[in-house]
């Protein structure tokens, strides 16, 4: 018998599998985002459609995923870190969105810059709501 609480504390589960799943998923998601921006390049001074589409699609998919893994079925413990934190986290980006707004904001492009800023936010929120609502409806919940 030991009075030292450290001696009786249960061992902490290793974070390594989760961190590895997040890293691999993040690499794949970022690669998909990069491929889309390559296939759909934005000319300077134009609406960044590739990042817009990436962020909106990623928001729709996280709505679908989170309803499936938290409300519909018991998922393997690595599904959410891999797909949600990793793939969709690496696929979508907030930093590029902010810097693209900065790059657009110039005389003559103020309307485009703010259309991008507000349009992405609005479409992303509609997408995540639609993804969750559609999945609940299809699952009969």
């Amino acid at each position: 018998m030991s009075g030292d609480p450290r001696a009786t504390a249960p061992p902490r589960p290793s974070q390594l599998p989760t961190v590895t799943a997040v890293a691999i998923g993040g690499g794949l998601g970022a690669l998909a985002r990069f491929g889309l921006t390559r296939a759909w390049p934005t000319a300077p001074g134009h609406f960044p459609w590739a990042t817009f589409a990436t962020n909106v699609a990623g928001c729709f998919l996280i709505g679908v995923l989170m309803v499936i893994v938290t409300e519909i079925r018991v998922a393997h413990p690595l599904v959410r870190p891999f797909l949600g934190v990793g793939v969709l986290g690496g696929f979508t980006t907030f930093s590029t969105y902010a810097v693209e707004f900065h790059n657009l904001l110039s005389p003559g492009l103020v309307a485009v810059a703010f259309a991008y800023l507000a349009g992405t936010l609005l479409a992303a929120m509609v997408a995540v709501f639609a993804g969750a609502a559609l999945t609940r409806r299809l699952a009969g919940r």
Binding site: A23, G26, G27, G29, G90, S95, A98, H102
Partner: protein
């Protein structure tokens, strides 16, 4: 080659986001997503600074497209906002949107202006 730089950067950025979020949320209980906010603001500051420094292409691909892109997230931001709305925490939801966007844009501008001042083109 370029694709490998994107993957390498994101394979560091994404787990850093995960571990930072866990650390922050463990210290700040409650519904507000402080972790994602901190990560997105930091990523905007760093990407703004990288853009202002006009880095050579491959380095920007590794650090900007890969690392900052993997670090920051729009999907978690939107999902956490939706969850606050579903919990009827409308004030927190509105604050999350306003602070993330206003401070994220501000951080990107600050990062860009700083490195532009240090490394004028």
């Amino acid at each position: 080659m370029t694709a490998l730089l994107v993957i390498a950067g994101a394979m560091v950025g994404a787990p850093l986001r995960y571990l930072t979020d866990r650390t922050v949320q463990a210290r700040h209980g409650g519904p507000f997503p402080w972790g994602t906010l901190l990560i997105n603001l930091t990523g905007c500051l760093v990407l703004g600074a990288l853009a202002g420094a006009t880095l050579p292409g491959p380095l920007f691909t590794l650090l900007g497209t890969g690392f900052c892109g993997g670090l920051t997230t729009y999907s978690t931001f939107s999902f956490e906002t939706l969850r606050l709305i579903e919990q009827k925490a409308y004030f927190y939801a509105a604050m999350n949107v306003v602070i993330t966007i206003a401070a994220g844009i501000g951080a990107a501008f600050a990062g860009f202006a700083t490195t532009q001042a240090i490394f004028p083109v």
